[in-house]
Symmetry: C2
Subunit: 498 residues, 2 copies
């Protein structure tokens, strides 16, 4: 597949000057239009050592307006990065809508290197590529433009290039021991690269292969490609913008009816005396288990969803009372900030992924996408429909990192909700919890019920089950939650001992 990039392409200096001047004007103009669009642009510059990645990136930096562009490079992961799932370091750097991120090194660097050095086998490489494809699809579905450029160099040219770099004192530093090793493994490297490029050249994120032996040629090729892809993308975006509006009707009628929630027995209760005793017992237990988990650097994520007034806050408080305040964060999810709104909807949850040994409790969560955003029409049908698998993939990535995840749906019926609204209005320090919006949401009970049923059905997997909590009786619900977390931690610790 690299033959086309071994022909010895080059561009005369005079031609380069002329063409780069006109390209720059066009790039600035398209970048100006991009600013007003809801699309982030992600440019990956990869390729063989000595293929001129750094030079091409420098040219792009020269040509584009630095106000709406950033270059992101990765070294060894920092400890803050190592303690989180591997894509976390990429998520934290993703460009905001309307801006460009140029990646020097990316999610491809590690899998390729690991396969070349035979630290992983083909099957593991395929698994990695699958995750990469999902990430790129997810970003692309959200409006991101992904431009991937591979700078290739024929073996003899790579040898010549590294020699030239070594000779010049101004560039000698660029040739590392790793480069020399890579050269020795050129054929292996090319073999792996071929497979990777084939399996990750998707309609939404195709690779461009560019010959890297002449910097004028490669930078013009990449620049021209960036220009064309952004232009196309903006055109397509302008057309699809209209479509998305049409489809913005929140509740699709094609959706099958699910009735999981109706199977819950909301008459379950727990007497006050039993509640007191069991609460003390499980809080004591949780305290010990949480400490052990912390000592072993095992993190947890607890997700709380439920009807308004279902008792999420009170339940969370019964958990945190038993934990060390230095060990957990409660993240209440409200309206996104503008920085959050300028990124993929999952970005603001990635921000709070716990470090090793820590616990994050989300009071409402990413499931807002398929609940409130769906019902209120804030997400288009295609957006919330694809969110089910995006969410499962996201949670699986957390799981793969060894994080313990529990998802609770706190369920009450409509009458109980009304009773609690009235009660809240009477108690001085609870009044601020109840607003007109709560009554408005209540009107849409049936739509929400449908959305909840579908959410549970589509995102409950054997590894990531929803825990449905009968919460008409607060005591019953709280004990069920705290016991479930204890049991899950116990199981995790048991497995750890083996």
């Amino acid at each position: 597949m690299f033959e086309v990039a071994e022909l010895g392409h080059s561009v005369e200096r005079s031609v380069y000057k002329e063409r780069s001047a006109s390209l720059r004007t066009q790039l600035l103009s398209v970048q100006d239009r991009l600013k007003a669009s809801p699309c982030p642009v992600i440019i990956l510059i990869s390729g063989v050592d000595g293929g001129g990645k750094g030079e091409v990136i420098n040219r792009l930096n020269e040509w584009l307006d630095p106000h709406y562009m950033r270059t992101i490079a990765f070294g060894e992961p920092t400890d803050e990065e190592r303690e989180r799932p591997k894509f976390w370091r990429f998520w934290r750097t993703l460009p905001a809508r309307g801006t460009i991120g140029i990646y020097s090194g990316s999610w491809y660097s590690d899998p390729i290197a690991q396969r070349v050095y035979q630290k992983i086998d083909d099957a593991a490489l395929q698994a990695e590529l699958k995750q990469i494809n999902r990430l790129e699809q997810l970003l692309s579905d959200d409006g991101a433009l992904i431009i991937k450029c591979w700078l290739h160099l024929k073996k003899d040219r790579q040898i010549a290039r590294l020699k030239a770099l070594s000779k010049n004192p101004a560039t000698k530093w660029r040739v590392t021991e790793k480069d020399k090793q890579h050269l020795a493994m050129y054929d292996d490297f090319i073999g792996v690269a071929e497979r990777v490029l084939t399996d990750t050249s998707t309609p939404y994120a195709p690779w461009l292969i560019v010959e890297g032996s002449d910097i004028h040629y490669s930078s013009l090729s990449v620049g021209q490609h960036v220009l064309e892809r952004i232009e196309q993308h903006l055109e397509r975006q302008a057309m699809n913008g209209v479509k998305a509006g049409e489809a913005a009707n929140g509740v699709s009628s094609q959706v099958e009816q699910y009735h999981l929630l109706d199977t819950l027995d909301l008459s379950l209760t727990k007497a006050k005396g039993d509640y007191r005793k069991e609460l003390e017992k499980y809080q004591g237990k949780l305290n010990g288990l949480a400490r052990q988990a912390q000592a072993l650097k095992r993190s947890s994520i607890l997700v709380f969803e439920g009807w308004d007034a279902a008792g999420k806050g009170g339940t969370i408080r019964r958990l945190t009372e038993a934990m060390d305040a230095r060990n957990y964060q409660v993240i209440p999810i409200a309206k996104p900030t503008d920085e959050e709104f300028a990124h993929h909807y999952l970005w603001r949850f990635w921000r709070h992924i716990p470090r090793a040994g820590q616990v994050t409790i989300y009071d409402r969560s990413w499931y807002g996408r398929v609940l409130v955003e769906r019902v209120e029409g804030m997400a288009s049908a295609s957006q919330w429909q694809r969110a089910y698998s995006e969410i499962v993939n996201f949670e699986e990535a957390l799981l793969a990192h060894g994080i313990t995840i529990l998802k609770f749906w706190l369920h009450i019926d409509r009458d109980e909700q009304m009773r609690r609204f009235k009660e809240r209005e009477k108690i001085s320090y609870k009044q601020f919890k109840i607003t007109d919006e709560d009554y408005r949401n209540r009107e849409k009970w049936d739509d929400y019920q449908k959305a909840v049923n579908e959410m549970v059905a589509r995102t409950s997997t054997s590894k990531l089950p929803w825990l449905l909590v009968e919460a008409n009786d607060k005591y019953y619900g709280r004990i069920k939650v705290i016991r479930a977390y204890c049991e899950r931690l116990e199981k995790m610790l048991d497995e750890h001992k083996k």
Copy 2:
């Protein structure tokens, strides 16, 4: 000073229950009012080991609404933190306006421990405390409420407490080797703490000393104190809000006239041929110097200010052309995002402080506070007037961390500015750079001139000089800037070799 906290205060369980219930209601109510205010609340919980810091923090977490509160704990600094000035890790966690941050461990932990272990002497401790006072003053001036609580324990009680903790399997983990060491050094520790508390009990951030032997007593005392301080602060804030409005007139007439800018010789030029030669020479030089600095993990911060159309962008590009794109970030400063607006005005600059070996170029900067915000009345007179020393302190902290800082003012005259506006309107890819606002700002030339003169006079110190750049001739200005950066790097590298 700790006698008052050695009397053996305690509270009966029944009294505790009653008082904590009423306290909780009041805390929630005041927290609700806080939400709507522009004030962040910073609560530091410090004290002797075994003084019940963790327990008090847990109680506060129970009592307050978790939606607008976070607990922040610090372990060993991560590598991302170590590579930046020491206050960076605190800045990144500061609570937003209207919210509460509870600090378990804080900027006090390190100086106290280092003095007790005799790693620093009294003079160094004093220097640290001075920096802390400045930080607290700066936050307080910005509307933050700082509540500092010290949990004290008599020596015999500390011994008894640690023994009790060690016996109970549920609390044993809390007693570390460090605690035992600290106990052996109790008297030294108390001596240092006394000095620290005395020197940092300021009108804007006084310490509360609380006896820590009974958790009911200490948590009620801290809770009551938090309640009263927030109530007072909100009252004062409501009154001062009016005052701040009165004083919001941007340009004070009392300000002395400075005439530094008038001394610049704007007729200085450089012929095109010379420019080309010198640019090539200094870009080559910069390339080598920047690589050496990177290898030595020495960071740089370059600040660019100047009149509209003074050529900041073009000058920055001539610098970055010579550098590795993976080694620098250009941070263009425009309107703050809402997350940035919810913090101290320096917060958004702290976000981009470079890691070890990296370069951050600010295209406009924190000096906006004393330029555009002053002239346009976006900052009150007292805000921009105190900003001069806040800024110098900030830059000194960067300097103390070993960062190389250069500040450039690019100067042109009014006629030259008009000529460039007209020119920009003619060139296709420069049109987007010129807006009505540029013409409006131009109308206020005299006000800006006064502000610039005062800024330079007040923030140019021997260690942190402003470099005034005669930029009517672009060639002249660019060479002056790149040469200055080269010379500064050379000096830094020379000193490093010694």
